[in-house]
């Protein structure tokens, strides 16, 4: 079993980038000047990840306003609609509103991933929203047939992943809706089917794709996730007792298991030793080829300075696990 560490997705925007966004919207700086600030901030966040001991880096998704936004802006047929709360967080996304046929025209996220790729020797992970969560959290004003909508959406996301292949070592497909407690069993099964169909269209090996879920894990939902033909990220902190039970009861024998061990929505100090001790309790039940220690979800829910502390704690979890597990 190989051990890695890396954040689940985003990192809070550095102050310089927050200001650059405001300056851009007020016409105080040009697109070119904004992109320079963005590039510098991506490098800053990549360096922070390396310094903390991450072995898998992301771009921090610093330009993303939410899970969907780069795609609602760049894909044909979509626009950013009303603000909606993102699950139970004090964080809102613009509802992807489908107003025409969904078509991929050009790479959406490749530039930021390449920026990290050019500047690190560590593994690089790219993130995209998954088709099922995209479908569930969007508003369809165009397609008469949901099957046709899904076909086009899956094709657009497949094209994006295809464009990322030269730059990213891992693709993370975010599917928090798969563990949404509001879903019934049949809807969840449909979600698993949709994601597996997407995975089969990607045609990538299981050790290069991770399906990321967060916020609401329990044993029943987890058991269903095991039918996914890819690596898996699970949030161990939002519902800790149920998540621990899920792993103990159902184990894991796939290629990649990413454990969200650092609470990305709290600033309560973490104890890396205690975290490793807890994971060790079900180490006999899980046997992935690659075990990744990660944050429970994106880090947008806490301030930048606290995210830096969380990153440091995650690095110490990996170091502790290397001593205890290997």
């Amino acid at each position: 079993m190989r051990l890695h560490a890396g954040i689940c997705g985003s990192f809070p925007r550095p102050q310089a980038l927050r200001k650059a966004f405001d300056d851009l919207s007020e016409g105080k700086i040009s697109d070119g000047e904004f992109k320079n600030v963005l590039r510098e901030c991506i490098l800053e966040v990549a360096r922070l990840q390396e310094k903390a001991g991450m072995t898998i880096l992301t771009s921090g998704l610093l330009s993303w306003h939410d899970l969907f936004r780069p795609f609602t802006m760049e894909l044909d047929g979509l626009e950013a609609g009303r603000l909606i709360r993102f699950f139970d967080n004090n964080f809102y996304y613009r509802c992807p509103t489908i107003i025409g046929r969904i078509l991929w025209r050009r790479p959406v996220t490749v530039d930021e991933v390449q920026e990290v790729r050019r500047n690190t020797r560590e593994l690089v992970k790219a993130i995209i929203p998954g088709p099922y969560t995209f479908l569930k959290l969007s508003e369809n004003r165009f397609y008469a047939s949901e099957d046709q909508l899904l076909d086009d959406l899956i094709e657009a996301l497949r094209a994006e992943v295809n464009s990322l292949r030269g730059s990213a070592d891992l693709i993370q497909v975010d599917e928090p809706s798969l563990v949404d407690p509001e879903l019934g069993r049949s809807e969840r099964l449909k979600g698993i089917e949709v994601v597996n169909e997407f995975l089969s269209k990607l045609g990538m090996p299981e050790n290069e794709v991770i399906i990321a879920t967060y916020f609401n894990l329990d044993p029943e939902r987890y058991a269903m996730l095991l039918d996914l033909r890819a690596g898996l990220h699970v949030d161990l902190r939002s519902t800790p007792a149920e998540a621990d039970l899920a792993l103990k009861e159902h184990g894991f024998d796939g290629q990649i298991l990413s454990l969200g061990v650092i609470d990305s929505r709290s600033i309560y100090p973490e104890d890396p030793r205690e975290i490793v001790y807890r994971v060790r309790a079900y180490l006999d039940s899980i046997s992935p080829h690659v075990l990744i220690f990660s944050t429970s979800s994106w880090l947008d829910y806490i301030p930048y300075n606290e995210a830096v502390r969380r990153l440091d704690a995650l690095g110490r979890v990996l170091a502790e696990a290397e001593v205890r597990f290997l």
């Binding site: 405001d22 009303r82 603000l83 964080f91 600033i267 947008d300 829910y301 606290e306």
Partner: protein
Amino acid sequence: MSCKLPDKLRTTVVGSYPYFPEALKAFQLRRRGDRGPEYEALVREATKKAIMDYLDAGIDILADGEQRREDMAVFFAEELDGFEISEPVRIFDNVYFRKPVIAGRISWRREMLVEDWKYASSISAGKPVKVTITGPYTMYSWSFDKFYGNMRNAILDLAESFRKEIEALVRAGATFIQIDEPALSTRAEKMDVLIAGEAFEIMFKGLSNVKRITHICYGKLERLFPEILDFPIDQYDFETKNRNYELLSLLREYSFDKELALGVIDVHSSRIEPVEEIMEGIARGLELLPPEKLYIKPDCGLKRLKREVALEKLRNMVEAARRARETLA
């Protein structure tokens, strides 16, 4: 001086109004720890302008525009004992707020809203001014907890603190008290709703001659029913326009017969709703309740809009209510 309000389809606001330059300057002073005469003068000037806009639009029940509050949670966290303030945290797009951190036992320190209410009331042309308070559940949910590690204990301490503030407001003469609980609709757990109910009991129990209001918005409001109907609340203020008035069906299911403040303006869009469109929304509300129990207002606070957009939306809303009253007559 008091002003006679219409007895049907009264118009009101949720609370916040776009910040005037004076308010923005006051925030800068406040961040530097300067709360001297210049700061107070700036807040008053901004409050005066908000009140004048509300009056210009013709709103019946006003608020002070929350020009003193850079953020609805941070303001109270800075005024109560037990809180610290974090670095900025994102809410959406590139919009951030400094999240409160609970670092000790929460308690009431001093009056927070009484002077602002008195001032706003003195320039409101006799119209009532509603007081808005960020509710205990939302205060807890929008804070990081480094002290309690127990939601209920923290929320009940917050409720006790706000009870003291409400008593001071009532003593001063306030008659419309609104508790804002936008975080309440984000949770599925019934336990959370019950804890919020305990907090409302603490804050509102035994108060007389006061309109007890709660504003809840965005999220899954349906999760709060039916428990929320047992809260000691006279008027429920909901976001309804943004969800195409779907909530009204649910209220009908529960035979809702209290007062409803109906959201008819989308506060996240700069599009000015035409009067006729707002009248359609009012008509939807009238299918549920008689006009005496229906208050007309935007979905939520207006602070994210440009001032001229907010004002124009309010003018159309007031005109729509006026025409709807005429139709009823």
